[in-house]
C-alpha cells in the first residue's frame, strides 16, 4: 500500500518524555541493587501508616511522630529502663516510611517492594484491618517479620496461624465488650441502646460485638435503631434525628477520626447527648482537640490503656513528656500503639541477641517475640493470643469532664485482659456469645 510516506518525526517533547520515562524505569530497577545486604550495624525497618486521606490526621501522623521519637531515642540509647541499651541489640535502626493509602492490592505490592527491593529487616505498620488481612499471608510467603500496630479485626489470628506475623496492639473485641460492661455498671437498669457506626467492617464488627455482649450481659436491653452512615460522610443530620426519635438511653459509636469529631460537633449542637448517654469507643483522640464540645459525662475509650488511660510509669512519663515537648500535643492512642510495636521489636531482638550472644536472624527474633511479655508506655503487653502472636492488654473506660477547666477523665474503670478478651484459640464471636457471662472480672 501507498502508506510509507507518513513516517512521523519525533518532537522534542516526545523525546524528552520518552527519555524521562526510560530513565525513571532504569533508576527504579537499578537504584536499589537487589541483593546488597544492609550494613551489619544497622537494622532496616519499614514503616507503613496513613500519610494521606482521612486517617492520616488522627492516626497516621501521630503514629509516625511516635515512631520518629522512639527510633531516635532507641538509637541514642536515651530511653528509660528496660530499654536503655543502644539500638536493637546494638544495631542502629534505619527506617523507611510508606503511605498506607490505596487499598489492599496496592499495599501488597508496596509490601513486596519494602521486603524484596528495599530489603527491610522488619515491617511495622497497618492501620486498616483490610490491609492487615491482605498483608499477613504475603508476609508469611516472603518470610518477612511483620508487626501490625493498630488494625483491630480479630480475624487475623483467629482464622490463620502465622510464624512471621505479630500484632502488638489488642483487638477491637475488648473495646466493645468492655464498653458493654462499663455502661451496665454505670446504668444497671439500662433499657435501650442505639448504635451509630460507620458503614464498613470496623463499624459492623464493633457494633456486633457490643450488641452481642449486651445481649448476653443484659438480655432485656432493647436495640432501638442501628445506624450505619457511610465512612467519611461528614453530615450526620438524618442519623442524629433517627437516633433522637429512637429515644434510647445510650448511644454507642465506634466512629473514629474526623467522622467521630463531626458526630460530636453535630450531636452536641443538637442536644443529642442531653437525654442519651454517649459512648465513643475511639473518643480519646478528640479529647484535647474538641474539649469544648464533648458533652460532660460522655464515656470515652482509647482502644486500650493508651493516652490518658495509660498507667503512670517512668516509661510513660518519659513518652508523654518527650512527645509533648516535640510535637506540642499529648500523644493519643495511635502514638502509643506505634511506640509499643517498636518497643516490642526491641524487646524481642534484645532477648534473641542475649540468648544467642550475637546478631539474631528473623526466625530467632520471631521466636523471641512469640509469647513475649514486655513493657510499653501503656504498661505490660502480653503476646498471649493467636499462639503467642497477638497481644492482649487491659481495657479502660472513663467519663469526660472539663469541670476543672481542663479536659480530664473521671470514673475510670480498668478491665483486666482476661475479662474482656477470649482465651487463646477461641473466636471472639463464640466467646462473647457462649462464655462471656461466665467470665469474671475480679
Amino acid at each position: 500500500m501507498a502508506g510509507r510516506k507518513n513516517v512521523r518525526n519525533y518532537s522534542p517533547v516526545q523525546l524528552a518524555t520518552a527519555s524521562i520515562v526510560c530513565l525513571l524505569t532504569a533508576a527504579l530497577c537499578l537504584g536499589h541493587p537487589p541483593s546488597v545486604r544492609a550494613d551489619e550495624g544497622t537494622y532496616k525497618l519499614g514503616l507503613v501508616t496513613f500519610l494521606s486521606g482521612a486517617a492520616a490526621g488522627p492516626f497516621g501522623v501521630p503514629a509516625r511522630n511516635a515512631a520518629e521519637l522512639i527510633i531516635e531515642a532507641i538509637n541514642a540509647g536515651t530511653l528509660p529502663s528496660p530499654y536503655d541499651s543502644k539500638g536493637l541489640a546494638g544495631m542502629t535502626i534505619e527506617s523507611t516510611i510508606i503511605d498506607e493509602a490505596g487499598g489492599g492490592t496496592k499495599q501488597v505490592g508496596e509490601f513486596r517492594n519494602l521486603v524484596q527491593r528495599r530489603n527491610v529487616d522488619a515491617v511495622i505498620g497497618y492501620i486498616s484491618s483490610g490491609d492487615c488481612l491482605a498483608i499477613a499471608p504475603v508476609a508469611e510467603e516472603l518470610r518477612a517479620l511483620t508487626i501490625f500496630f493498630d488494625c483491630g479485626t480479630p480475624r487475623i489470628f483467629e482464622d490463620n496461624d502465622y510464624k512471621y506475623v505479630f500484632r502488638t496492639g489488642p483487638t477491637s473485641t475488648m473495646d466493645n465488650v468492655a464498653a458493654a460492661r462499663y455502661i451496665l455498671e454505670l446504668k444497671p437498669n439500662l433499657k435501650s441502646v442505639s448504635g451509630m457506626n460507620q458503614n464498613y467492617a470496623w463499624g459492623f464488627d464493633s457494633w456486633n460485638d457490643f450488641k452481642w455482649a449486651m445481649g448476653v450481659l443484659k438480655p432485656d436491653v432493647d436495640i432501638k435503631t442501628e445506624q450505619f452512615p457511610k465512612l467519611g460522610a461528614g453530615q450526620y443530620g438524618s442519623e442524629i434525628s433517627a437516633v433522637m426519635v429512637s429515644r434510647a438511653e445510650v448511644i454507642h459509636s465506634s466512629f473514629w477520626g474526623g467522622d467521630m469529631e463531626g458526630l460530636v460537633l453535630q450531636g452536641a449542637a443538637r442536644g443529642l447527648f442531653d437525654n442519651s448517654q454517649g459512648i465513643f469507643t475511639c473518643g480519646e483522640t478528640a479529647m484535647f482537640r474538641l474539649s469544648d464540645q464533648i458533652p460532660e459525662g460522655t464515656i470515652i475509650g482509647g482502644r486500650g490503656p493508651f493516652g490518658v488511660f495509660a498507667p503512670a510509669s517512668p516509661l510513660n512519663d518519659w513518652f508523654r513528656k518527650s512527645y509533648m515537648d516535640r510535637f506540642g500535643t499529648p500523644p493519643t492512642y495511635p502514638s502509643y500503639k506505634m511506640a509499643q510495636a517498636i518497643l516490642g521489636l526491641k524487646a524481642a531482638v534484645d532477648k534473641a541477641a542475649a540468648a544467642k550472644n550475637g546478631k539474631p536472624n528473623k526466625e530467632e527474633i520471631a521466636a523471641a517475640l512469640k509469647g513475649l511479655e514486655f513493657q510499653a508506655p501503656s504498661g505490660v503487653v502480653r503476646m498471649s493470643l493467636g499462639k503467642g502472636h497477638q497481644a492482649v492488654q487491659e481495657m479502660v473506660y472513663g467519663q469526660f469532664t472539663k469541670k476543672n477547666g481542663k479536659p480530664e477523665i473521671y470514673n475510670v474503670r480498668r478491665y483486666p485482659a482476661e475479662c474482656v478478651n477470649p482465651p487463646d484459640g477461641v473466636k471472639s464471636e463464640d466467646w462473647i456469645k457462649n462464655s462471656l457471662k461466665q467470665t469474671s472480672c475480679n
Binding site: L51, S52, G53, A54, A56, G57, P58, G60, V61, N199, T225, E226, Q227, F228, P229, K230, G232, A233, G234, Q235, G237, S238, E239, S241, A242, M244, V245, R247, G257, G258, D259, E261, G262, L265, Q266, A269, R270, G271, L272, R289, L290, D292, Q293
Partner: protein
C-alpha cells in the same frame, strides 16, 4: 408523625447542602462541558479557609457574629482565586478536548490540590464549630435541630434564587444561557466565550468553596473531606440533567428526601440510595430529569 417531620427536615437540610455543592458543578458543566472533579478540592479549600479564619477570629476575641461574614467571604474568595488559577493554569490549555479527557484533567488537578491543601494546612483537623452553635436550637416536640442547619435551607434557596435571577434576568446570564444552549452558534454570534468561561468557572469554584465554607462549622476539616463529595454531587447533577441548575435543585431534593427516608426506615439501604435513585432516574429518563434541548442533528 415525628418521624415524618424528621424525614422532611433532614431531607431538606441534606438537599440544601447537596444543592449548594452541585449548583456550581452543573453550571460549569452546562457552559464549559467540563465535569469538574476538582470541585471536591474546591469544597475542601473552602472548608479549610473558613475553618482557619474562624479559628483565628475567635482566637483574637472579636464580636462573634462578625465571623459569619468573615468565613463565608473568605471561603468564596479562596474558591474564586483557586478557580482562576485552575482555569488559567490548566483548563485553558485543554479546551476542545473530549469530555472524558476533561474529567481526567480535573482528576489530575484534584490529586494535585489534595496534596497542596495538605502542604498548606497539614493533616491535623481544623475546627470552626463556634458559628455552628450561635444560631441556637429549634425544637419540634422531642426533636431538636441546629438553627444553623435550618438556616442552610434558606441559604440554599437564596443561592438558587440568585442563580436563577442571574441566568434569566441579567444580560450576562442570558449570554451564558446562549452558550449553554449552543456553543457554536454563540461563537458565531461573537459572544466572548473565553471571558464567559473564566467567569463561569470562577462562579462555579466559588459555589464549591462556599459549600465547603458553610459546612465547615459542622465538620472536622481534615484531608479527604472533598473526595466523598464529588461522587455525591456528580450523581445529583446527572439525576437533574447535566447543566440544568433547576435540575440540580430537584435532584438534590430527590436524593435528600430519599436518603432521609432510608435512614429513618431502612438504614441498611442508605449506602445504595444515591446510586439507586440515579439508576432509576436514568432508566426512565436517560439524560436526567431536565434535558437541555440540543440543536437538530440531521
Amino acid at each position: 408523625m415525628e418521624t415524618l417531620l424528621a424525614i422532611l427536615i433532614d431531607g431538606l437540610v441534606y438537599a440544601s447542602w447537596l444543592f449548594i455543592v452541585a449548583a456550581g458543578l452543573t453550571l460549569v458543566y452546562g457552559v464549559m462541558k467540563i465535569l469538574n472533579m476538582a470541585h471536591g478540592s474546591l469544597y475542601a479549600i473552602g472548608a479549610y479557609s473558613a475553618a482557619s479564619l474562624v479559628g483565628w477570629y475567635f482566637g483574637s476575641g472579636h464580636p462573634p457574629w462578625g465571623s459569619f461574614a468573615l468565613f463565608i467571604g473568605g471561603a468564596v474568595i479562596a474558591g474564586m482565586v483557586t478557580g482562576l488559577i485552575i482555569e488559567r493554569g490548566v483548563l485553558r490549555r485543554m479546551y476542545g478536548r473530549d469530555e472524558v479527557v476533561m474529567i481526567l484533567v480535573t482528576y489530575g488537578v484534584l490529586l494535585i490540590l489534595e496534596d497542596v491543601t495538605k502542604l498548606l494546612w497539614g493533616v491535623d483537623a481544623y475546627f470552626a464549630y463556634q458559628p455552628y452553635g450561635m444560631i441556637g436550637r429549634v425544637r419540634f416536640s422531642d426533636l431538636t435541630f441546629a438553627g444553623y442547619d435550618l438556616t442552610l435551607i434558606a441559604v440554599a434557596g437564596l443561592v438558587g434564587f440568585a442563580l436563577w435571577y442571574a441566568l434569566n434576568r441579567t444580560r450576562q446570564g442570558k449570554l451564558l444561557r446562549a452558550v449553554i444552549h449552543d456553543r457554536e452558534i454563540s461563537l458565531a454570534m461573537g459572544i466572548n466565550v473565553t471571558r464567559i468561561f473564566i467567569v463561569t468557572f470562577i462562579i462555579g469554584s466559588a459555589l464549591g468553596a462556599l459549600a465547603g465554607g458553610l459546612t465547615a462549622p459542622a465538620l472536622s476539616v481534615a484531608p479527604g473531606i472533598g473526595i466523598e463529595i464529588i461522587i455525591l454531587a456528580f450523581a445529583v447533577v446527572v439525576i437533574g440533567g447535566l447543566g440544568s441548575v433547576g435540575g440540580a435543585a430537584i435532584g438534590a431534593l430527590l436524593v435528600g428526601i430519599c436518603r432521609a427516608l432510608a435512614v429513618h426506615t431502612y438504614p441498611q439501604f442508605e449506602l445504595f440510595i444515591i446510586y439507586g435513585v440515579m439508576a432509576a432516574v436514568l432508566a426512565v429518563r436517560p439524560q436526567g430529569l431536565f434535558v437541555i434541548a440540543r440543536a437538530r442533528k440531521i
